[in-house]
């Protein structure tokens, strides 16, 4: 491989980030959760494990969609996924709290939320399931 051909590869490596760039990401909860909307601050505290209860009460069961994590945290917090992972290492290994459940795609997250009134998740499209309610939208 010639050196000029390496440049874009190195640049891609240098600035590479993980995760797909969905059009819109939405935060969803169960329709019986008692939550109609969430602020960005509330969502940040929940997804970063700082607050362990949903606003109406009851323990929050936080669900992450693995391929959307980088995009979600960049949009919600403006931070790279490597920073989020280091943050979770701090919490997890100092006994503060355990990281959220991760699922492989949005459909699995919607299924979790549809069955659990205490669940909260982010997905890449407004779900068709009537048991899921969108409480926060994060544009591209």
């Amino acid at each position: 491989m010639r050196i000029p051909a390496l440049v874009p590869v190195l640049l891609a490596l240098l600035l590479s980030t993980q995760g797909a760039a969905a059009e819109e990401l939405v935060v969803i909860v169960h329709r019986d959760s008692g939550i109609s909307t969430l602020s960005r601050e509330q969502a940040s505290h929940l997804f970063l494990g700082r607050v362990k209860m949903l606003p109406p009460g009851g323990r929050a069961n936080v669900v992450e969609v693995e391929p959307l994590r980088a995009s979600f945290y960049r949009r919600l917090l403006g931070r790279e996924i490597a920073e989020i992972n280091a943050y979770w290492a701090r919490l997890q290994f100092s006994g503060r709290t355990q990281p959220p459940l991760r699922v492989s795609d949005s459909a699995a997250a919607v299924a979790r939320v549809a069955e659990d009134p205490q669940a909260i998740a982010f997905v890449d499209a407004v779900p068709d399931d009537p048991r899921a309610r969108v409480v926060l939208r994060l544009g591209p």
């Binding site: 490596l13 323990r59 355990q98 669940a119």
Partner: protein, 439 residues
């Protein structure tokens, strides 16, 4: 070049390899149901350090028996392996145990328990823990062992490297409440101290001691603030116990000779060995993150009434800029500790003719003349470190760090000479490379 390969290196390397290729969806991930859930996780660091300063051992903390020697590629000071088991028994009750294996106080690699507690969280504003806990003084989490959690290779060795009495068996209670767009947290902790210091080729564990203190945090979207206050009180200090009868002998001899000033000085010092027993710190820290930029500032005031006593301060700063997987950073830290300046007039002339009961007095005074400056010198510390490095997140759970530190020490108890004694002045450049991982 001498290469030091600890026995557990192969184990850590193998674990790092496993961590790199670990599946994202570990079986141990918590499930969203209400059943008892157990998870096993861990962290580690494969680290190498090198410098070329003769007759100098570089340590990351004072509980390490040995450090990196000149022209020696050392895998010992930063390499670590930690294993954690967590059980969520109910939504309110959980248990956690964490064992860490690193180069310990005796140079061995046996695991030691860093965390081991039962936690009760009745609601969103209260959290109670009981068991083996860690003093909450670190900005990047309550542990100095999780390299993956830090930006730099290691916490500020100048500051945190001296605070190794950081484990305790006891209780902590945290309350939190929303304040502004952040969370305000207040923690109280207390219990029996665990920890050790290795100085002058000898370990100084806290045989019987109590730790207690409090922290106040405010965590906002970009800014986090932390105030820490802590104390460690020893109820039995054996380190200088042999010195006490010598000081008492000098006090009695000086009194008999009419030197009441020296008698009072020696008597006070003898009393301090038995009764003065507190090590305290008061710290403040700030972390600010906006997009790719992050800044950390911390400062702490330290004092010790335990004989011979010292007062001092430490400070540290880190600035970093995230560019995708890369994160270059610069660090600065300084700590200063001086023995308390108390008069001890040992140089006053001793009468030639002494009555038989005072025959041993000149011997005791001569002994102290040689020993006292040495003892007070053990606590003297004046060290500054400037560093630069880069973190590269190789994969989701693995980070490679390369770092250069320039250390200038007028006097140091973190650095040792080749015999294992506190040393100074020294100036050295330390090159470090670590592979940090979590799994």
């Amino acid at each position: 070049m001498l290469t030091v390969i600890p026995r557990c290196l192969a184990a850590i390397a193998a674990t790092a390899l496993c961590a790199t290729s670990a599946a994202v969806y570990a079986e141990g991930q918590p499930a969203a149901d209400a059943d008892v859930r157990w998870s096993v996780s861990g962290f580690g660091t494969l680290g190498a350090a090198w410098h070329a300063a003769d007759d100098t051992q570089f340590r990351r903390s004072v509980d390490q028996r040995r450090g990196t020697r000149a022209n020696e590629l050392d895998f010992g000071i930063d390499s670590t392996l930690g294993l954690q088991v967590h059980g969520a028994l109910t939504p309110q009750w959980s248990v956690l145990a964490q064992a860490v294996m690193n180069q310990g106080r005796h140079g061995e690699w046996g695991p030691h328990l860093v965390w081991g507690f039962v936690k009760y969280v009745p609601n969103d504003w209260l959290e109670l823990r009981a068991g083996r806990l860690v003093t909450d003084i670190y900005l990047d989490g309550d542990s100095r062992h999780v390299g993956y959690a830090y930006t730099a290779v290691r916490p500020y060795a100048d500051v945190y490297g001296r605070l190794t009495y950081d484990n305790f068996d006891g209780l902590d209670a945290t309350v939190q409440h929303a304040l502004g767009d952040g969370l305000l947290r207040f923690k109280l902790f207390g219990g029996r101290t665990r920890g050790s210091v290795f100085l002058n080729d000898r370990e100084h564990p806290v045989k019987v001691g109590r730790s207690f203190g409090a922290t106040l945090d405010w965590i906002g979207p970009e800014l986090s603030l932390k105030l820490s206050w802590g104390n460690m009180v020893t109820t039995r200090n054996d380190i200088y116990a042999p010195l006490r009868p010598v000081l008492q002998g000098v006090a009695e001899g000086a009194h008999a000779l009419g030197d009441h000033r020296l008698a009072a000085q020696a008597s006070t010092l003898a009393s301090e060995i038995a009764n003065s027993n507190r090590i305290g710190y008061l710290g403040a820290a700030l972390a600010w993150e906006r997009g790719p930029l992050s800044l950390q500032l911390m400062g702490t005031d330290m004092s010790m009434t335990v004989f011979p006593g010292f007062e001092g301060w430490g400070a540290g700063a880190t600035a970093a800029y995230r560019m995708g997987r890369w994160k270059p950073y610069v660090t600065w830290s300084r700590s200063l500790l001086d023995p308390k300046d108390r008069p001890f007039d040992l140089d006053r002339p001793i009468p030639q003719e002494l009555p038989p009961p005072l025959a041993g007095y000149p011997v005791a005074v001569g002994h102290l003349r040689g020993l006292y400056p040495t003892i007070t010198g053990y606590t003297r510390h004046d060290q500054t470190t400037i560093g630069a490095g880069v973190r590269y997140d190789v994969a989701e759970n693995v980070a490679l760090k390369l770092q250069v530190d320039r250390i200038d020490a007028k006097r140091s108890s973190t650095l040792l000479d080749d015999r294992g004694y506190v040393t100074g002045p020294r100036a050295l450049t330390v090159f470090s490379a670590t592979l940090d991982f979590v799994f």
